[in-house]
C-alpha cells in the first residue's frame, strides 16, 4: 500500500471498526457482557462506553440466550445490533437462538422478515484457559444455512469486515481468535470496509496449497517460510469467509499445486478442514497428486499446562511435516 500507514493492533483495529460503525449509522449499537464499563473481556471496546454512553455500548447481564435473541429481535425491529458473546465457549448457551431463529426466520417467513444482525465472539486456545475456555467451533457455525461466518486474521480484515457484515441484510458471525488481539503491524491510515466473500492468497507458491483461517494463519505462514528454506514453494490461502466458502480460490490453487494441506484449530473429526478436504475431493480429485492432509487439534478437552496445550494444537513443525508428506518428502 502506498497510502500512509499507522502502527496498530488487531484489538485496536476491531475497536476502530466498532467506533466507525456507531458513528456511521445511528441504528448500530454494541451489546454484550462487560462491553461497557469494563471495556470488554479482551479490552476490545475499552473507551467506547465513555465516548458513546450506555445506550449504544450496552452492558448486559449474564444471559447469552437472552441478549443474543434480543439482538435478533432488535435487528428485526430496525436496529443494526452488534452482539458480542465474550467467547465461543459461552455461545453454546445462545445456539438455540442462532440456529432456530436467526438462521431460519427469513426463509421460514417466506422472505418477509430478515435479521441484519452481527455477532462477534472470541475463539480459540493458546492462553492456557483449559477445557471449558478453549473451544474452536467455527466449523459448527459454518454448518448453519441462513447465517454467514467470517474469520478476520489480518489487521485489514479486523478493521474492515465489521462494516461489511453490518451492511449485509442477513446474520453474520465474526470470529476473533484470542491469540490475534495483541498482534501489531502497519495499517493504512484510511483503512475501511473490505469485501468478505472471497478467500485471499496470503503467500504465492507452486508446490503445495495450504488452506487455513483465523488464528492458524500465522503458524501456517511460518511453516510456509520454513518450507521455502527447503525449496518447497507453498501457497497459503486465508479463507476469511467460512460460510460461504470460496471454492474457486481453493480449486484454482490446487489445480496449480496438485497438493493441499488444511490447517484448522478445530478438533479433527467433523472439523471445517474435513469439509474442505471433501470439496477438494469432489472438485479437484483428478488434479491431486497426493491425498489432501489435515492438521487439526487433538481430540481432547484442551488441558491447562503449556506443554500439553501446545501438544493439543496445530504447531509449525507438524504443519511443515504434513506439507512435506504431500510431496513424499
Amino acid at each position: 500500500m502506498s497510502a500512509p500507514t499507522i502502527e496498530t493492533s488487531y484489538r485496536e483495529a476491531v475497536r476502530e471498526a466498532i467506533r466507525d460503525a456507531i458513528k456511521r449509522d445511528p441504528r448500530v449499537f454494541l451489546m454484550g457482557e462487560d462491553v461497557g464499563r469494563y471495556g470488554g473481556c479482551y479490552a476490545v471496546s475499552k473507551g467506547l462506553y465513555d465516548e458513546f454512553g450506555p445506550e449504544r455500548i450496552r452492558d448486559t447481564p449474564l444471559s447469552e440466550s437472552g441478549f443474543t435473541g434480543a439482538g435478533i429481535g432488535a435487528a428485526m425491529g430496525g436496529m443494526r445490533p452488534i452482539v458480542e458473546i465474550m467467547t465461543v465457549n459461552f455461545s453454546l448457551l445462545a445456539l438455540d437462538q442462532i440456529v432456530n431463529n436467526a438462521a431460519t426466520i427469513r426463509h421460514m417467513s417466506g422472505g418477509q422478515f430478515s435479521v441484519p444482525l452481527v455477532i462477534r465472539m472470541a475463539t480459540g486456545a493458546g492462553r492456557q484457559l483449559a477445557a471449558q475456555h478453549s473451544h474452536s467451533l467455527e466449523g459448527w457455525y459454518a454448518h448453519i444455512p441462513g447465517i454467514k461466518v467470517v474469520a478476520p486474521a489480518t489487521l485489514e480484515d479486523a478493521r474492515g469486515m465489521l462494516w461489511t457484515a453490518l451492511e449485509d441484510p442477513d446474520p453474520v458471525v465474526i470470529f476473533e481468535h484470542v491469540m490475534l488481539y495483541n498482534r501489531t503491524g502497519p495499517l493504512a491510515a484510511d483503512a475501511g470496509p473490505v469485501a468478505i466473500a472471497a478467500a485471499a492468497v496470503r503467500r504465492a507458491g507452486t508446490d503445495v496449497t495450504m488452506i487455513t483461517y483465523g488464528g492458524s494463519l500465522y503458524k501456517t505462514l511460518e511453516a510456509a517460510e520454513r518450507l521455502g528454506d527447503d525449496g518447497v514453494a507453498a501457497e497459503v490461502i486465508d479463507l476469511r469467509s467460512l460460510r460461504p466458502l470460496d471454492d474457486a480460490t481453493v480449486m484454482t490453487s490446487v489445480a496449480k499445486t496438485h497438493r493441499a494441506v488444511i490447517v484448522d484449530e478445530g478438533w479433527r473429526s467433523g472439523s471445517l478442514a474435513a469439509e474442505l478436504s471433501a470439496r477438494i475431493m469432489e472438485q479437484a480429485f483428478w488434479a491431486l497428486d497426493a491425498p489432501v492432509g489435515r492438521v487439526c487439534s487433538a481430540e481432547v478437552p484442551i488441558p491447562y499446562p503449556k506443554h500439553l496445550e501446545d501438544a493439543a494444537l496445530p504447531q509449525v513443525p507438524v504443519i511443515v511435516a504434513a506439507a512435506r508428506a504431500t510431496l513424499g518428502l
Binding site: G69, A70, D96, R106, M108, G110, K148
Partner: protein
C-alpha cells in the same frame, strides 16, 4: 359472566353492542377455523403438527382489542387464534395450513410458523420459550428509536420453566422495555400438569419476582381479559415498563393430533368445557338482549362463508416450485 364491577374506566366504552358482538364473532371465527382445520387434518390436506387453541380463544381476542397496527405480536406454535385476531386474512392463513405459496409464510411454515409483515406478526415459534428474547429485542428497538409501540408476546405456562423465560423477564424489567407478556396458563404442557413442573404454580408471582407488575386473569372471560389488557397496554405504551398477564384457561382438545390424553380425565375436561368463553359471552349477550337467534345465525353464516372462501383460496393455491427451495435462505443481493 364477570361481575359488572370489573367494567370500569374506558372499558365501558367498549361494551356497546357492536363491540360485544365483534368479540363474539372473533372468537367464533377462531373456533370454526380450527374445527375445520381438525377435519382437514384427517383429510390430510393439513400435515405436520397441528395445535388447536379451542377453549382459549378469549385470550387472543381480548388482548388484540388493545393493540394498534403499529404494535408487534409474537406467539407459539398454537397461534391460529392470535393470527386471526390480529387480522391476518383467513384466506392466506388457510393457504399456509395447506403449505401453498399463497400462504402467509409462502407455505414454508405451516401451522406452527405463521408470519405476516403487514400486521407485524412475527410468528409462530415452535421452540418453547424461544420467542421471548425476540420480543425483548423488538421492544428494545422501539425504545431506542423512541417509538411508543408495544410488543405483545403469547406463550404457555410451560415456557416458564425454560431459562429463556427467566433471562427475558429480567431484561425486560431491567431495561424497562415496552413488552406485554401474556401467559396462557392452560394447566398442562403437553401431558405435564403445572404442579408437576413448577414449584411455584402462580406464574404471575414469578413475574413479580422480577419487579414486573403482574396479574392473573380469568382466561375464559374475554371481557375480563380485555379490561386487564387495556390497563396493561396503556401502562406499557406510556413507558412504564413491561406488564405481565397470566390468563387461566384450558385446552379443550388434545395437545396436538397425536395425543391420547392419558394424563387428564374426561371429567376435568367437561368441567372446563362448561366455562367455554364462546358459550359464556353468547349467553350473556342473549340474557342482556344484545343477541337474538337471527343475529346469531347471521354471524355464523357469515363465518361459514369466510371459511368456505378461505378453503377455496387454499385449494386454488399453488405449490412453490422446487427451484425456489433455496430462495430466501439469504437475501438476494444486487450483484
Amino acid at each position: 359472566m364477570s361481575d359488572a364491577g370489573t367494567y370500569v374506566g374506558d372499558t365501558k366504552l367498549h361494551l356497546n353492542r357492536d363491540h360485544a358482538l365483534h368479540l363474539l364473532r372473533e372468537m367464533l371465527r377462531i373456533r370454526r377455523f380450527e374445527e375445520r382445520c381438525a377435519e382437514l387434518y384427517t383429510e390430510e390436506k393439513i400435515r405436520g403438527f397441528l395445535h388447536l387453541c379451542i377453549g382459549e380463544e378469549a385470550i387472543a381476542v381480548g388482548t388484540m382489542q388493545c393493540l394498534t397496527p403499529d404494535d408487534a405480536v409474537l406467539a407459539t406454535y398454537r397461534e391460529h387464534g392470535h393470527a386471526l385476531a390480529r387480522g391476518l386474512p383467513m384466506t392466506t392463513l388457510m393457504a399456509e395450513m395447506y403449505g401453498k405459496r399463497e400462504g402467509c409464510s409462502r407455505g414454508r411454515g405451516g401451522s406452527m410458523h405463521l408470519f405476516d409483515a403487514a400486521t407485524r406478526f412475527y410468528g409462530g415459534n415452535a421452540i418453547v420459550g424461544g420467542l421471548l428474547p425476540l420480543a425483548i429485542g423488538l421492544a428494545l428497538a422501539d425504545k431506542m428509536q423512541g417509538r411508543a409501540r408495544v410488543t405483545a408476546c403469547f406463550f404457555g405456562e410451560g415456557a416458564a420453566a425454560e431459562g429463556e423465560f427467566h433471562e427475558s423477564l429480567n431484561l425486560a424489567a431491567l431495561w424497562q422495555l415496552p413488552v406485554l407478556f401474556v401467559c396462557e396458563n392452560n394447566l398442562y404442557a403437553m401431558g405435564t400438569a403445572l404442579e408437576r413442573s413448577e414449584s411455584e404454580t402462580h406464574i404471575f408471582h414469578k413475574a413479580q419476582s422480577y419487579r414486573i407488575e403482574s396479574e392473573a386473569v380469568d382466561g375464559m372471560d374475554v371481557l375480563a381479559i380485555e379490561v386487564a389488557a387495556r390497563r396493561a397496554v396503556a401502562a406499557v405504551r406510556a413507558g412504564e415498563g413491561p406488564r405481565f398477564l397470566e390468563c387461566l384457561t384450558y385446552r379443550f382438545r388434545a395437545h396436538s393430533m397425536f395425543d391420547a390424553q392419558l394424563y387428564r380425565d374426561k371429567a376435568e375436561v367437561e368441567v372446563w368445557k362448561q366455562k367455554c368463553p364462546v358459550l359464556r359471552l353468547g349467553h350473556w349477550l342473549e340474557e342482556t338482549g344484545m343477541l337474538d337467534r337471527a343475529e346469531r345465525a347471521r354471524i355464523e353464516a357469515e363465518i361459514e362463508g369466510e371459511l368456505e372462501a378461505a378453503e377455496a383460496f387454499a385449494e386454488g393455491g399453488t405449490w412453490e416450485p422446487v427451484e425456489d427451495l433455496a430462495r430466501d435462505v439469504y437475501t438476494e443481493q444486487p450483484a
